[in-house]
Amino acid sequence: MMNSARRAGPGANAVPAAAPARISLSRVTKTYVTSRARLDALGPLSLEVAEGEFVVLAGPSGCGKTTLLNLIAGFEPPSEGEIRVDGRPVAGPGPDRVMIFQEPALFPWLNVLDNVIFGLRQHTHLSPAERRAIAEHYLELVHLEGFARAFVHELSGGMKQRVALARALAPEPRALLCDEPFGSLDALTRERLYAEFQELHARTRKTVLFVTHNTREAACLADRVLVLTARPARIKHVVEVGLPRPRDFYDARVSVLAGQILAELRSEIAEE
Protein backbone atom coordinates (compact mmCIF):
# COMPACT_ATOMS: atom_id res chain seq x y z
CA MET A 1 0.00 0.00 0.00
CA MET A 2 2.81 2.37 0.93
CA ASN A 3 4.75 1.44 -2.19
CA SER A 4 1.87 2.11 -4.51
CA ALA A 5 1.37 5.48 -2.81
CA ARG A 6 4.98 6.34 -3.49
CA ARG A 7 4.83 5.22 -7.07
CA ALA A 8 1.80 7.40 -7.66
CA GLY A 9 4.09 10.31 -6.76
CA PRO A 10 3.09 13.93 -6.82
CA GLY A 11 3.18 13.93 -10.65
CA ALA A 12 0.02 14.18 -12.72
CA ASN A 13 -2.50 14.36 -9.90
CA ALA A 14 -1.33 17.48 -8.16
CA VAL A 15 -1.70 21.19 -8.11
CA PRO A 16 1.53 22.58 -9.60
CA ALA A 17 3.81 23.07 -6.61
CA ALA A 18 4.35 26.75 -5.92
CA ALA A 19 7.76 27.90 -4.75
CA PRO A 20 8.06 27.86 -0.96
CA ALA A 21 7.41 31.16 0.77
CA ARG A 22 9.89 33.52 2.37
CA ILE A 23 8.44 34.92 5.57
CA SER A 24 9.81 38.00 7.28
CA LEU A 25 8.71 39.68 10.47
CA SER A 26 10.13 43.02 11.46
CA ARG A 27 9.65 44.28 15.00
CA VAL A 28 6.25 42.66 15.34
CA THR A 29 4.33 43.07 18.58
CA LYS A 30 0.87 42.06 19.71
CA THR A 31 -0.87 43.66 22.63
CA TYR A 32 -4.38 42.84 23.73
CA VAL A 33 -6.12 45.75 25.40
CA THR A 34 -9.37 45.30 27.27
CA SER A 35 -11.13 47.84 29.42
CA ARG A 36 -9.45 46.39 32.50
CA ALA A 37 -6.09 45.12 31.41
CA ARG A 38 -3.36 45.34 28.88
CA LEU A 39 -1.62 42.15 27.87
CA ASP A 40 1.64 42.21 25.94
CA ALA A 41 1.50 38.85 24.21
CA LEU A 42 4.34 39.11 21.75
CA GLY A 43 7.50 40.87 20.76
CA PRO A 44 9.03 42.96 19.60
CA LEU A 45 10.18 40.09 17.45
CA SER A 46 12.00 40.03 14.12
CA LEU A 47 12.49 36.89 12.11
CA GLU A 48 13.51 35.79 8.64
CA VAL A 49 12.40 32.36 7.45
CA ALA A 50 14.03 31.22 4.22
CA GLU A 51 12.25 29.45 1.38
CA GLY A 52 11.73 25.81 2.29
CA GLU A 53 13.13 26.20 5.79
CA PHE A 54 11.68 24.20 8.69
CA VAL A 55 11.62 26.48 11.72
CA VAL A 56 10.42 25.27 15.10
CA LEU A 57 9.26 27.78 17.68
CA ALA A 58 9.74 26.34 21.17
CA GLY A 59 8.67 28.22 24.23
CA PRO A 60 7.06 27.95 27.63
CA SER A 61 3.32 27.40 27.46
CA GLY A 62 1.33 30.59 27.24
CA CYS A 63 4.30 32.53 25.89
CA GLY A 64 2.55 33.71 22.75
CA LYS A 65 3.64 31.05 20.25
CA THR A 66 0.13 30.55 18.97
CA THR A 67 -0.38 34.31 18.76
CA LEU A 68 2.67 34.51 16.51
CA LEU A 69 1.24 31.87 14.14
CA ASN A 70 -2.16 33.60 14.16
CA LEU A 71 -0.51 36.83 13.06
CA ILE A 72 1.40 35.15 10.26
CA ALA A 73 -1.76 33.28 9.19
CA GLY A 74 -3.50 36.66 9.05
CA PHE A 75 -6.26 35.85 11.56
CA GLU A 76 -5.30 38.95 13.55
CA PRO A 77 -3.23 42.00 12.64
CA PRO A 78 -0.04 42.78 14.59
CA SER A 79 -0.19 45.78 16.93
CA GLU A 80 3.09 47.09 15.57
CA GLY A 81 5.61 46.01 12.99
CA GLU A 82 5.11 44.26 9.73
CA ILE A 83 4.77 40.72 8.45
CA ARG A 84 5.66 40.04 4.84
CA VAL A 85 5.40 36.90 2.77
CA ASP A 86 7.67 37.07 -0.27
CA GLY A 87 7.89 40.81 0.29
CA ARG A 88 4.13 41.40 0.31
CA PRO A 89 2.48 42.48 3.57
CA VAL A 90 0.03 39.98 5.04
CA ALA A 91 -3.50 41.40 4.79
CA GLY A 92 -5.58 38.45 6.02
CA PRO A 93 -5.84 34.68 5.94
CA GLY A 94 -4.90 33.16 2.64
CA PRO A 95 -4.38 29.74 1.14
CA ASP A 96 -0.69 30.41 0.47
CA ARG A 97 -0.15 29.93 4.24
CA VAL A 98 -2.24 27.05 5.51
CA MET A 99 -2.49 26.60 9.25
CA ILE A 100 -2.75 23.22 10.98
CA PHE A 101 -4.32 23.60 14.39
CA GLN A 102 -3.87 21.83 17.72
CA GLU A 103 -7.16 20.10 17.06
CA PRO A 104 -7.89 18.56 13.65
CA ALA A 105 -10.66 21.13 12.91
CA LEU A 106 -12.20 18.88 10.26
CA PHE A 107 -15.66 19.76 8.95
CA PRO A 108 -18.14 17.24 10.37
CA TRP A 109 -20.66 17.84 7.58
CA LEU A 110 -18.20 16.59 4.96
CA ASN A 111 -16.73 13.13 4.61
CA VAL A 112 -12.96 12.63 4.69
CA LEU A 113 -12.49 13.05 0.95
CA ASP A 114 -14.61 16.21 0.76
CA ASN A 115 -12.67 17.69 3.67
CA VAL A 116 -9.48 17.30 1.65
CA ILE A 117 -11.20 18.68 -1.47
CA PHE A 118 -12.33 21.80 0.45
CA GLY A 119 -9.04 23.66 0.03
CA LEU A 120 -8.88 22.76 -3.68
CA ARG A 121 -11.97 24.78 -4.55
CA GLN A 122 -9.87 27.93 -4.84
CA HIS A 123 -8.13 26.31 -7.82
CA THR A 124 -10.95 27.07 -10.22
CA HIS A 125 -9.07 25.74 -13.22
CA LEU A 126 -9.38 22.20 -11.86
CA SER A 127 -12.36 20.07 -12.79
CA PRO A 128 -14.24 18.27 -10.00
CA ALA A 129 -12.72 14.99 -11.17
CA GLU A 130 -9.21 16.46 -10.97
CA ARG A 131 -9.84 17.81 -7.47
CA ARG A 132 -11.02 14.41 -6.41
CA ALA A 133 -7.96 12.72 -7.87
CA ILE A 134 -5.65 15.14 -6.06
CA ALA A 135 -7.49 14.65 -2.77
CA GLU A 136 -7.27 10.88 -3.16
CA HIS A 137 -3.56 11.21 -3.82
CA TYR A 138 -3.00 13.13 -0.58
CA LEU A 139 -5.10 10.66 1.39
CA GLU A 140 -2.74 7.98 0.08
CA LEU A 141 0.22 10.03 1.27
CA VAL A 142 -1.11 9.93 4.83
CA HIS A 143 -2.11 6.27 4.40
CA LEU A 144 -5.85 6.86 4.68
CA GLU A 145 -6.93 5.88 1.17
CA GLY A 146 -9.41 3.39 2.60
CA PHE A 147 -11.26 6.07 4.56
CA ALA A 148 -12.28 8.52 1.83
CA ARG A 149 -15.99 7.96 2.44
CA ALA A 150 -15.81 7.83 6.24
CA PHE A 151 -17.43 10.47 8.41
CA VAL A 152 -15.10 12.48 10.59
CA HIS A 153 -16.42 11.11 13.88
CA GLU A 154 -15.62 7.58 12.76
CA LEU A 155 -11.87 8.27 12.80
CA SER A 156 -9.42 8.08 15.70
CA GLY A 157 -7.59 11.21 16.88
CA GLY A 158 -4.42 10.31 14.97
CA MET A 159 -6.35 9.60 11.77
CA LYS A 160 -8.16 12.93 12.05
CA GLN A 161 -4.88 14.79 12.42
CA ARG A 162 -3.55 12.96 9.34
CA VAL A 163 -6.64 14.04 7.38
CA ALA A 164 -5.96 17.59 8.56
CA LEU A 165 -2.41 17.23 7.24
CA ALA A 166 -3.64 15.94 3.86
CA ARG A 167 -6.20 18.74 3.70
CA ALA A 168 -3.51 21.34 4.40
CA LEU A 169 -1.07 19.89 1.87
CA ALA A 170 -3.45 19.24 -1.03
CA PRO A 171 -3.77 22.87 -2.23
CA GLU A 172 0.05 23.09 -2.31
CA PRO A 173 0.40 26.03 0.07
CA ARG A 174 3.71 27.83 -0.01
CA ALA A 175 3.98 27.68 3.76
CA LEU A 176 2.60 25.45 6.51
CA LEU A 177 1.91 26.95 9.92
CA CYS A 178 1.66 24.16 12.48
CA ASP A 179 0.36 24.86 15.97
CA GLU A 180 1.33 21.81 18.04
CA PRO A 181 -0.51 19.59 15.59
CA PHE A 182 0.59 16.39 17.30
CA GLY A 183 0.21 17.63 20.88
CA SER A 184 -2.99 15.78 21.69
CA LEU A 185 -1.93 12.42 20.25
CA ASP A 186 -0.59 9.39 22.02
CA ALA A 187 3.16 8.80 21.86
CA LEU A 188 3.06 5.88 19.40
CA THR A 189 0.90 7.69 16.86
CA ARG A 190 2.98 10.81 17.25
CA GLU A 191 6.25 9.06 16.54
CA ARG A 192 4.83 7.55 13.37
CA LEU A 193 3.63 10.96 12.28
CA TYR A 194 7.11 12.48 12.82
CA ALA A 195 8.43 10.04 10.25
CA GLU A 196 5.57 10.72 7.82
CA PHE A 197 5.86 14.44 8.30
CA GLN A 198 9.61 14.46 7.64
CA GLU A 199 9.11 12.35 4.55
CA LEU A 200 6.40 14.73 3.30
CA HIS A 201 8.56 17.75 3.99
CA ALA A 202 11.49 16.21 2.15
CA ARG A 203 9.27 15.57 -0.83
CA THR A 204 7.27 18.81 -0.94
CA ARG A 205 9.92 21.21 0.44
CA LYS A 206 7.56 23.76 1.94
CA THR A 207 8.41 26.52 4.32
CA VAL A 208 7.25 25.29 7.73
CA LEU A 209 6.75 27.19 10.97
CA PHE A 210 6.07 24.67 13.69
CA VAL A 211 5.10 25.53 17.25
CA THR A 212 5.76 23.09 20.07
CA HIS A 213 6.87 22.88 23.67
CA ASN A 214 8.20 19.37 23.13
CA THR A 215 11.97 19.78 22.82
CA ARG A 216 12.64 16.36 21.32
CA GLU A 217 10.01 17.02 18.69
CA ALA A 218 11.75 20.33 17.97
CA ALA A 219 15.17 18.70 17.57
CA CYS A 220 13.76 15.88 15.46
CA LEU A 221 11.97 18.08 12.93
CA ALA A 222 13.69 21.46 12.68
CA ASP A 223 16.34 23.03 10.51
CA ARG A 224 16.42 25.77 13.11
CA VAL A 225 14.88 25.97 16.57
CA LEU A 226 13.97 29.33 18.04
CA VAL A 227 13.65 29.22 21.80
CA LEU A 228 11.22 31.91 22.87
CA THR A 229 11.06 33.84 26.12
CA ALA A 230 8.10 33.84 28.46
CA ARG A 231 5.37 36.32 27.58
CA PRO A 232 5.73 38.62 25.72
CA ALA A 233 7.50 36.18 23.40
CA ARG A 234 10.82 37.25 21.97
CA ILE A 235 13.60 35.16 20.50
CA LYS A 236 15.86 34.09 23.33
CA HIS A 237 18.12 31.62 21.66
CA VAL A 238 18.63 30.05 18.23
CA VAL A 239 19.71 26.43 17.74
CA GLU A 240 20.82 25.39 14.25
CA VAL A 241 20.10 21.69 13.80
CA GLY A 242 22.61 20.31 11.33
CA LEU A 243 21.66 16.66 11.69
CA PRO A 244 21.10 14.55 8.57
CA ARG A 245 17.52 13.62 7.64
CA PRO A 246 15.42 11.63 8.09
CA ARG A 247 16.00 11.71 11.83
CA ASP A 248 14.91 9.08 14.24
CA PHE A 249 12.99 10.37 17.23
CA TYR A 250 15.26 8.35 19.55
CA ASP A 251 18.55 9.14 17.81
CA ALA A 252 21.22 10.01 20.38
CA ARG A 253 22.14 13.25 18.62
CA VAL A 254 18.49 14.32 18.66
CA SER A 255 18.47 13.64 22.41
CA VAL A 256 21.58 15.77 22.96
CA LEU A 257 20.08 18.70 21.07
CA ALA A 258 16.75 18.29 22.82
CA GLY A 259 18.66 18.49 26.10
CA GLN A 260 20.28 21.77 25.06
CA ILE A 261 16.93 23.25 24.01
CA LEU A 262 15.38 22.07 27.24
CA ALA A 263 18.17 23.75 29.25
CA GLU A 264 17.43 27.02 27.46
CA LEU A 265 13.71 26.66 28.13
CA ARG A 266 14.30 25.82 31.78
CA SER A 267 16.49 28.85 32.33
CA GLU A 268 13.71 30.94 30.76
CA ILE A 269 11.11 29.53 33.10
CA ALA A 270 13.49 29.99 36.07
CA GLU A 271 14.17 33.63 35.18
CA GLU A 272 10.49 34.36 35.00
Partner: protein, 263 residues
Protein backbone atom coordinates in the same frame (compact mmCIF):
# COMPACT_ATOMS: atom_id res chain seq x y z
CA UNK B 1 -31.78 -7.46 22.04
CA UNK B 2 -31.73 -6.39 18.40
CA UNK B 3 -32.74 -2.90 17.39
CA UNK B 4 -35.68 -4.10 15.28
CA UNK B 5 -36.93 -6.21 18.11
CA UNK B 6 -36.73 -3.24 20.46
CA UNK B 7 -38.62 -1.02 18.00
CA UNK B 8 -41.31 -3.69 17.58
CA UNK B 9 -41.63 -3.97 21.30
CA UNK B 10 -42.01 -0.25 21.91
CA UNK B 11 -44.53 -0.04 19.03
CA UNK B 12 -46.55 -2.81 20.67
CA UNK B 13 -46.43 -1.03 24.03
CA UNK B 14 -47.65 2.20 22.43
CA UNK B 15 -50.45 0.44 20.55
CA UNK B 16 -51.62 -1.23 23.74
CA UNK B 17 -51.61 2.12 25.54
CA UNK B 18 -53.66 3.83 22.81
CA UNK B 19 -56.18 1.01 22.79
CA UNK B 20 -56.46 1.31 26.59
CA UNK B 21 -57.09 5.06 26.27
CA UNK B 22 -59.81 4.46 23.67
CA UNK B 23 -61.43 1.83 25.87
CA UNK B 24 -61.37 4.12 28.89
CA UNK B 25 -62.86 6.91 26.78
CA UNK B 26 -65.60 4.57 25.55
CA UNK B 27 -66.37 3.44 29.10
CA UNK B 28 -66.45 6.98 30.54
CA UNK B 29 -68.68 8.25 27.73
CA UNK B 30 -71.08 5.31 28.23
CA UNK B 31 -71.53 6.43 31.85
CA UNK B 32 -73.27 9.50 30.33
CA UNK B 33 -71.85 11.95 32.89
CA UNK B 34 -72.00 14.62 30.17
CA UNK B 35 -74.52 14.83 27.35
CA UNK B 36 -73.29 13.04 24.25
CA UNK B 37 -73.24 16.24 22.16
CA UNK B 38 -70.54 17.53 24.53
CA UNK B 39 -68.67 14.30 25.23
CA UNK B 40 -69.13 11.85 22.36
CA UNK B 41 -67.83 8.30 22.46
CA UNK B 42 -64.83 7.30 20.32
CA UNK B 43 -67.17 5.19 18.18
CA UNK B 44 -69.31 8.27 17.56
CA UNK B 45 -66.24 10.37 16.65
CA UNK B 46 -65.04 7.65 14.32
CA UNK B 47 -68.33 7.34 12.50
CA UNK B 48 -68.58 11.15 12.18
CA UNK B 49 -65.12 11.22 10.58
CA UNK B 50 -66.15 8.54 8.14
CA UNK B 51 -69.24 10.62 7.26
CA UNK B 52 -67.11 13.73 6.75
CA UNK B 53 -64.76 11.79 4.52
CA UNK B 54 -67.66 10.22 2.59
CA UNK B 55 -69.60 13.46 1.97
CA UNK B 56 -66.45 15.06 0.56
CA UNK B 57 -65.92 17.73 3.21
CA UNK B 58 -62.83 16.29 4.93
CA UNK B 59 -60.36 15.87 2.09
CA UNK B 60 -60.67 19.37 0.54
CA UNK B 61 -60.12 20.85 3.98
CA UNK B 62 -57.05 18.70 4.66
CA UNK B 63 -55.72 19.65 1.25
CA UNK B 64 -56.42 23.36 1.76
CA UNK B 65 -54.62 23.44 5.10
CA UNK B 66 -51.65 21.55 3.66
CA UNK B 67 -51.37 23.79 0.60
CA UNK B 68 -51.49 26.92 2.77
CA UNK B 69 -48.91 25.41 5.06
CA UNK B 70 -46.64 24.46 2.16
CA UNK B 71 -46.55 28.01 0.85
CA UNK B 72 -46.63 29.81 4.20
CA UNK B 73 -43.99 27.59 5.73
CA UNK B 74 -41.69 27.91 2.72
CA UNK B 75 -41.78 31.69 3.03
CA UNK B 76 -41.28 31.46 6.76
CA UNK B 77 -38.36 29.00 6.54
CA UNK B 78 -36.59 31.10 3.92
CA UNK B 79 -37.09 34.26 6.00
CA UNK B 80 -36.06 32.50 9.20
CA UNK B 81 -32.84 31.21 7.63
CA UNK B 82 -31.89 34.58 6.14
CA UNK B 83 -32.69 36.58 9.25
CA UNK B 84 -30.98 33.93 11.42
CA UNK B 85 -27.90 34.10 9.20
CA UNK B 86 -27.84 37.88 9.57
CA UNK B 87 -28.27 37.58 13.35
CA UNK B 88 -25.60 34.90 13.61
CA UNK B 89 -23.03 36.89 11.65
CA UNK B 90 -23.73 40.41 12.90
CA UNK B 91 -23.68 41.33 16.56
CA UNK B 92 -25.73 44.48 15.92
CA UNK B 93 -28.51 42.63 14.08
CA UNK B 94 -28.50 39.99 16.80
CA UNK B 95 -28.77 42.52 19.61
CA UNK B 96 -31.64 44.31 17.89
CA UNK B 97 -33.69 41.32 16.78
CA UNK B 98 -33.12 38.68 19.45
CA UNK B 99 -35.10 40.31 22.24
CA UNK B 100 -37.85 41.35 19.82
CA UNK B 101 -38.14 37.78 18.56
CA UNK B 102 -38.07 36.29 22.05
CA UNK B 103 -40.87 38.69 22.96
CA UNK B 104 -42.91 37.82 19.88
CA UNK B 105 -42.51 34.13 20.64
CA UNK B 106 -44.51 34.57 23.82
CA UNK B 107 -47.55 35.37 21.67
CA UNK B 108 -49.78 32.39 20.90
CA UNK B 109 -50.39 31.85 17.16
CA UNK B 110 -54.06 32.78 17.59
CA UNK B 111 -53.07 36.23 18.83
CA UNK B 112 -51.87 37.06 15.32
CA UNK B 113 -55.28 36.37 13.77
CA UNK B 114 -57.16 39.61 14.63
CA UNK B 115 -54.40 41.93 13.41
CA UNK B 116 -53.92 39.82 10.33
CA UNK B 117 -57.66 40.14 9.50
CA UNK B 118 -57.53 43.90 10.07
CA UNK B 119 -54.55 44.34 7.77
CA UNK B 120 -55.21 41.76 5.06
CA UNK B 121 -58.96 41.33 5.28
CA UNK B 122 -60.68 38.07 4.47
CA UNK B 123 -58.00 36.73 2.13
CA UNK B 124 -55.64 33.79 2.16
CA UNK B 125 -52.84 36.33 2.60
CA UNK B 126 -54.10 36.75 6.16
CA UNK B 127 -53.51 33.04 6.78
CA UNK B 128 -50.00 33.13 5.30
CA UNK B 129 -49.26 36.12 7.52
CA UNK B 130 -50.28 34.16 10.62
CA UNK B 131 -48.13 31.18 9.60
CA UNK B 132 -45.12 33.39 8.95
CA UNK B 133 -45.49 35.37 12.18
CA UNK B 134 -45.98 32.19 14.23
CA UNK B 135 -42.95 30.32 12.99
CA UNK B 136 -40.27 32.64 11.58
CA UNK B 137 -38.89 33.89 14.90
CA UNK B 138 -38.24 30.39 16.25
CA UNK B 139 -36.34 29.39 13.12
CA UNK B 140 -34.34 32.62 13.05
CA UNK B 141 -33.31 32.20 16.68
CA UNK B 142 -32.36 28.54 16.21
CA UNK B 143 -30.28 29.42 13.13
CA UNK B 144 -28.57 32.30 14.94
CA UNK B 145 -27.82 30.08 17.96
CA UNK B 146 -26.44 27.37 15.71
CA UNK B 147 -24.14 29.88 14.05
CA UNK B 148 -22.92 31.43 17.28
CA UNK B 149 -22.00 27.98 18.59
CA UNK B 150 -19.80 27.06 15.62
CA UNK B 151 -16.32 26.35 17.00
CA UNK B 152 -14.17 29.33 15.90
CA UNK B 153 -11.40 26.95 14.81
CA UNK B 154 -13.67 25.62 12.03
CA UNK B 155 -14.15 29.13 10.66
CA UNK B 156 -10.41 29.75 10.82
CA UNK B 157 -9.71 26.42 9.14
CA UNK B 158 -12.02 27.42 6.28
CA UNK B 159 -10.37 30.83 5.97
CA UNK B 160 -6.86 29.46 5.93
CA UNK B 161 -7.92 27.00 3.22
CA UNK B 162 -8.96 29.92 1.04
CA UNK B 163 -12.74 30.09 1.54
CA UNK B 164 -14.03 33.39 0.17
CA UNK B 165 -16.42 35.61 2.06
CA UNK B 166 -19.34 34.39 -0.01
CA UNK B 167 -18.52 30.72 0.12
CA UNK B 168 -18.13 30.98 3.91
CA UNK B 169 -21.90 31.36 4.36
CA UNK B 170 -23.00 28.58 2.08
CA UNK B 171 -20.16 26.12 2.46
CA UNK B 172 -19.22 26.60 6.10
CA UNK B 173 -21.56 28.65 8.29
CA UNK B 174 -24.89 27.15 7.26
CA UNK B 175 -23.70 23.53 7.13
CA UNK B 176 -21.92 23.92 10.47
CA UNK B 177 -25.12 25.25 12.04
CA UNK B 178 -27.24 22.53 10.41
CA UNK B 179 -28.06 20.47 13.50
CA UNK B 180 -29.50 23.54 15.20
CA UNK B 181 -31.24 24.69 12.01
CA UNK B 182 -32.98 21.32 11.68
CA UNK B 183 -34.22 21.59 15.25
CA UNK B 184 -35.49 25.11 14.51
CA UNK B 185 -37.28 24.02 11.35
CA UNK B 186 -39.02 21.19 13.19
CA UNK B 187 -40.16 23.62 15.86
CA UNK B 188 -41.14 26.16 13.20
CA UNK B 189 -43.21 23.55 11.40
CA UNK B 190 -45.18 22.79 14.56
CA UNK B 191 -45.73 26.49 15.30
CA UNK B 192 -46.77 27.14 11.69
CA UNK B 193 -49.24 24.26 11.87
CA UNK B 194 -50.72 25.89 15.00
CA UNK B 195 -50.89 29.14 13.04
CA UNK B 196 -52.70 27.78 10.00
CA UNK B 197 -55.38 26.04 12.05
CA UNK B 198 -55.85 29.10 14.30
CA UNK B 199 -56.27 31.39 11.30
CA UNK B 200 -58.72 29.06 9.59
CA UNK B 201 -60.85 28.96 12.73
CA UNK B 202 -61.80 32.55 12.23
CA UNK B 203 -61.47 33.20 8.56
CA UNK B 204 -62.05 30.55 5.96
CA UNK B 205 -64.59 28.49 4.12
CA UNK B 206 -62.38 25.43 3.87
CA UNK B 207 -59.57 23.95 5.96
CA UNK B 208 -59.12 21.97 9.16
CA UNK B 209 -59.67 25.09 11.27
CA UNK B 210 -62.88 25.78 9.35
CA UNK B 211 -64.14 22.25 10.04
CA UNK B 212 -63.45 22.78 13.76
CA UNK B 213 -65.33 26.05 13.67
CA UNK B 214 -68.23 24.52 11.71
CA UNK B 215 -68.42 21.66 14.22
CA UNK B 216 -68.77 24.12 17.06
CA UNK B 217 -71.46 26.09 15.19
CA UNK B 218 -73.39 22.85 14.71
CA UNK B 219 -72.89 21.80 18.34
CA UNK B 220 -71.18 18.73 16.90
CA UNK B 221 -68.51 17.69 19.40
CA UNK B 222 -67.89 14.48 17.47
CA UNK B 223 -66.82 16.50 14.43
CA UNK B 224 -64.68 18.85 16.57
CA UNK B 225 -62.83 16.02 18.29
CA UNK B 226 -62.53 14.06 15.04
CA UNK B 227 -60.96 17.02 13.23
CA UNK B 228 -58.64 17.64 16.19
CA UNK B 229 -57.45 14.06 15.91
CA UNK B 230 -56.92 14.44 12.16
CA UNK B 231 -54.92 17.63 12.81
CA UNK B 232 -52.69 15.88 15.32
CA UNK B 233 -52.27 12.90 13.03
CA UNK B 234 -51.28 14.96 10.01
CA UNK B 235 -48.89 17.07 12.08
CA UNK B 236 -47.16 13.93 13.35
CA UNK B 237 -47.02 12.21 9.97
CA UNK B 238 -45.51 15.24 8.28
CA UNK B 239 -43.00 15.68 11.07
CA UNK B 240 -41.92 12.10 10.41
CA UNK B 241 -42.00 12.30 6.62
CA UNK B 242 -40.35 15.68 6.26
CA UNK B 243 -37.88 15.87 9.09
CA UNK B 244 -37.14 12.49 10.64
CA UNK B 245 -35.00 11.40 7.69
CA UNK B 246 -33.08 14.68 7.58
CA UNK B 247 -32.53 14.66 11.30
CA UNK B 248 -31.33 11.08 11.26
CA UNK B 249 -28.87 11.86 8.50
CA UNK B 250 -27.50 14.91 10.31
CA UNK B 251 -27.14 13.02 13.56
CA UNK B 252 -25.28 10.13 11.99
CA UNK B 253 -23.00 12.47 10.08
CA UNK B 254 -22.07 14.50 13.15
CA UNK B 255 -21.75 11.33 15.19
CA UNK B 256 -24.41 12.29 17.72
CA UNK B 257 -26.06 9.46 19.57
CA UNK B 258 -29.29 8.43 17.84
CA UNK B 259 -32.30 10.27 19.21
CA UNK B 260 -33.72 8.45 22.22
CA UNK B 261 -36.19 5.83 21.05
CA UNK B 262 -39.30 7.80 20.22
CA UNK B 263 -42.10 5.48 19.30
Amino acid sequence: MSETKQTLRSTAVLAAFLVAVLLLWQVVSSLALLPSYAFPSPAHVGSRLVELAADGSLWPSVKASLVRMALGFSISAALGLLVGLAMGTSGVVNTCLRSVFLGLQTLPSAAWVPISLLVFGLSDTAIYFVIVMSSTAAMAIATADGISHIPPVLLRAAQTLGATRRSMSTRVVLPAALPSIVTGIKLGWTLGWHGVVSAELIKSSVGLGFLLHAGRELNDAAQVIGVMLVTVFIGLILDRLLFAAVEKKVRSRWGFAPAAARA
